[in-house]
């Protein structure tokens, strides 16, 4: 658990972060979202004391971090950065082993853990003896992730972790990232300026502007209950796509017609509208079989899906 209490940071005359407070629950992923210069990276770096706050306090698992040795504090926090920051003079294996070595793990333990991680991150065994410049951007970021995860820290900080990747690679790594078991048990704070990415990965989003926190909430809350104009406008350009991603079949369940019973494998109602539309587009099926929480199954086609979604939207606005 991470808690920030009114932390502020000034660079010269600019107030980079202005009394930011939030709490990240255990195993939760909080995404700091905003334009560049909004103070999100500064906020992140104050959590592992790469930047010391001018005012306010940071607690990790209930402990005030200013009372800890910064080097010891940092060895206990995983850190993934935008430019990956792998050591160019270390092999992949040595890069991954940096923190374990600082913690004086024995060689065998490091080896076993490294093997385990690269398997999970889909890296090949022979890449271990390679140098970072011999790897592709995506592979490098996997190594960066492995380096942060190797000691299995409970807290993980990520600064634009996919920022250096091309679109195709980014999307696939994001998917893997989401599915990674190791990450599901971590408390994560991640910085991004990419709204899609934030909505894809966040449990909650913290929207920042000019050093201030504008709104903290689930993606759905940000979409449907923006606190002010800034929050509304920030998402405006991609609103529809985001809504398709946020809204799940389950949400529009009441607006879907009760369809005839059909045989076959049914999909979970956890599926979002975007994915459902993609399935209908890509397969030759004209209908999807979805089973809801009430054990009831519905067969829906593209028009029914859109209609249900529209009805849901109207209901939100009137709420």
């Amino acid at each position: 658990m991470i808690q920030l209490k009114e932390i502020s940071k000034k660079f010269g005359d600019t107030l980079a972060v202005n009394k930011a407070s939030f709490k990240v629950e255990e195993k939760e992923t909080l995404v700091l979202l905003g334009t560049s210069g909004c103070g999100k990276t500064t906020t992140l770096k104050m959590i592992n004391r790469l930047i010391e706050p001018d005012a306010g306090q940071v607690f990790i698992n209930g402990e005030n971090i200013t009372n800890q040795d910064p080097d010891v504090l940092r060895t206990g926090i995983g850190y993934v950065m935008q430019n990956i920051g792998l050591f160019p003079h270390y092999t992949v294996a040595e890069n991954i082993a940096v923190v374990p070595k600082l913690l004086k793990w024995d060689k065998e333990k490091i080896k076993v853990r490294t093997r385990e991680l690269i398997k999970k991150l889909h890296l090949s065994e022979n890449s271990l003896s390679m140098f970072p410049h011999e790897l592709s951007g995506g592979q490098q970021q996997r190594v960066g992730l492995a380096r942060a995860l190797v000691t299995d820290p409970s807290v993980l900080l990520m600064d634009e972790p996919f920022g250096a990747l091309d679109n195709v690679t980014r999307t696939s790594i994001q998917k893997e990232f989401k599915g990674l078991e190791e990450l599901k048990r971590k408390t994560i704070v991640m910085v991004t300026h990419d709204v899609q990415e934030a909505f894809e990965l966040a449990d909650r989003i913290c929207l920042m502007d000019k050093g201030k926190i504008i709104q903290i909430g689930t993606p759905k809350e940000l979409l449907y209950q923006p606190v002010n104009d800034f929050a509304r406008k920030f998402l405006a350009g991609q609103r529809l796509a985001l809504e398709f991603k946020v809204v799940k079949i389950q949400d529009i369940w009441p607006y879907l017609p009760k369809g005839a019973l059909q045989d076959g494998k049914s999909l979970s109602a956890d599926l979002n509208v975007w994915d459902a539309m993609e399935l209908l587009r890509s397969s030759d099926r004209s209908e999807l079989l979805v089973s809801g929480t009430d054990k009831e199954s519905k067969a829906i086609n593209f028009e029914q899906l859109i209609k249900g979604f529209n009805q849901f939207q109207n209901a939100q606005v009137h709420e």
């Binding site: 080097d71 940092r74 430019n83 990956i84 050591f87 160019p88 003079h89 940096v98 923190v99 900080l157």
Partner: protein
């Protein structure tokens, strides 16, 4: 050309022992100073990379030191550190400093910020970041600095021989003062090769990838240390006494070569420039030095000449040489100049030189005092019976003699005198005489024989050790060849000599060169 190369090869072959020792010393000097330069420059570079405000000052100072001419720098070192290895190493290290500091600094500040941040974020301490991240990543740039410093050092180390620190400069500068091209090349070619080879080797290290570089970095300090250790090798076999000889003396048959072949003298020898030699002997850094037998510094530093009992140093007896024409024109001249014959012994001349060189009395006063004390001085007659033109070479002894002759002529004859003193060297003086610009000047028999007549080496060798034979030979030959007469010798002999502090000579009971050899053999 072919013949020339062969003789160079022969020279190097003959002198291979010395060449090897000098090369070792040269490599040693280069690397000892490099080691110290790294030991100082690397931390300084790291410091200014941490505290950027200091960088301007530190790099500025190192830059200014770099621009001090190398000979001047060596000169500054002598009063502080004396002669020998210490000042040479310090001077070299000063030259090596700038490239090492500057490259360490630029290497470290040039490292990608994200890599440094990653290191911090993973919990590395400052010293861990320095050792594991910054230094390894800056290493190619630092190595480039070390490479530059090494090449500079190989070049500057040739100057170390000026202050008795050895190295290939001994051959180069010995060759220059002896006008011996082979000797110059025997020093210059290995020095150039050293620079090229070391540069190539270090460029290989510099271009290695990180994997190989890591291994190389373990080897490099050891290699530098071992190469630096070479410097200690040649001086390791030594003798109980140390000799300091000028580069010229080292290369002459009537010098170190003769001492070795005729006396069988085995003494630990360092090569040193004339200017610092006497001081070094006086401060007991040197026990035996080469010098000139009438040098005023003999007296100034209380030195004793060791008798040349096997006469390897040819006699250099001084006597006026006069054009036959002038003798005819001035009938009283020969008689007047001969008034001085046999009057000035070695010790008297030394004393007179001491008074001009060290007490800074004018040659005129020294000459007058001497003539008065020997009863030769007469008041000028102010006659107008023609002008006698006196020449002299450009050192103290010759000025004094010219003054004496001037006073004798004015006091004893009706001739007027004009003096043309300070003529550059033997060649200029002699040309002036031959071309009727002067009528006479004092010359030395050895110079007359070896420089002006240059007879067949066999003839020269045969008579060079006999003062009467030499005198007779130059008398007849000069008359025959140049129509110039040698008058009677003045008495002193200004030849090469080995010298030792009076007190030490007494303590060790060493009075001749043979004594010295026997002493060295026993101890």
């Amino acid at each position: 050309m072919n013949e020339h190369q062969q003789t160079l090869w022969q020279f190097m072959h003959e002198q291979s022992d010395k060449l090897f020792a000098q090369t070792l010393q040269h490599v040693g000097l280069t690397f000892i100073s490099l080691l110290f330069a790294i030991a100082i420059g690397l931390p300084l570079g790291i410091l200014i990379a941490r505290k950027r405000k200091l960088s301007g000052t530190v790099l500025g100072i190192a830059g200014v030191l770099q621009t001090v001419p190398s000979i001047a720098l060596l000169g500054f070192m002598i009063p502080i550190l004396g002669i020998g290895a210490k000042p040479a190493i310090v001077a070299l290290l000063i030259y090596a400093l700038l490239p090492i500091i500057r490259n360490t600094y630029t290497g470290i500040i040039g490292i990608n910020q994200h890599v440094k941040e990653a290191a911090r974020a993973m919990g590395m301490s400052k010293s861990q970041i320095l050792l594991k991240v910054e230094l390894p990543l800056a290493m190619p740039v630092i190595l480039a600095g070390i490479r530059t410093a090494t090449v500079i050092n190989v070049g500057v180390a040739t100057l170390a021989s000026f202050i008795a620190a050895g190295g290939l400069g001994e051959f180069i500068f010995g060759g220059i003062s002896l006008n011996n091209t082979n000797m110059i090349l025997a020093g210059a070619i290995p020095a150039a090769l050293l620079a090229i080879i070391l540069d190539a080797l270090l460029s290989l290290v510099q271009k290695m990838d990180f994997k190989k570089l890591r291994k190389a970095l373990y080897v490099l300090p050891v290699a530098i240390l071992i190469l630096g250790g070479f410097y200690a090798l040649p001086s390791a076999y030594g003798s109980s006494l140390t000799a300091g000889f000028t580069p010229e003396f080292m290369g002459r048959q009537d010098g170190d070569l003769g001492l070795k072949s005729i006396y069988g003298l085995k003494i630990h020898t360092i090569v040193i420039s004339d200017a610092v030699m006497y001081k070094a002997a006086f401060s007991k850094e040197l026990d035996v030095i080469s010098g000139y037998s009438t040098d005023g510094r003999l007296k100034a530093f209380d030195l004793k000449i060791l008798r040349d009992d096997k006469s390897i140093f040819p006699p250099y007896y001084a006597a006026p040489i006069v054009r036959d024409e002038a003798l005819k024109q001035f009938p009283q001249l020969a008689e007047t100049l001969n008034l001085l014959a046999g009057k000035i012994t070695d010790s008297v001349m030394t004393d007179l030189n001491y008074r001009t060189d060290y007490l800074h009395q004018t040659p005129e006063r020294v000459a007058k005092d001497f003539l008065i004390s020997t009863g030769l001085y007469k008041a000028p007659k102010n006659g107008h019976n023609g002008v006698v033109r006196i020449g002299s070479k450009i050192f103290g002894e010759q000025y004094i003699l010219a003054e004496m002759y001037s006073m004798l002529i004015k006091g004893n004859t009706d001739y007027e005198v004009s003096t043309k003193t300070g003529l550059g060297g033997t060649k200029i003086c002699f040309d002036a005489l031959m071309n009727d610009q002067i009528d006479f000047y004092p010359e030395y028999t050895g110079t007359g024989l070896l420089v002006l007549l240059q007879p067949d080496p066999k003839i020269a060798k045969e008579m060079a050790h006999d003062k009467d034979k030499t005198y007779d030979y130059v008398c007849t030959e000069f008359e025959k060849k140049f129509k110039i007469k040698w008058l009677k010798p003045i008495g002193f002999n200004n030849s090469y000599a080995l010298m030792m502090l009076q007190k030490q000579s007494k303590d060790l009971n060493v009075n001749t060169i043979t004594d010295l050899k026997n002493y060295l053999d026993k101890n």
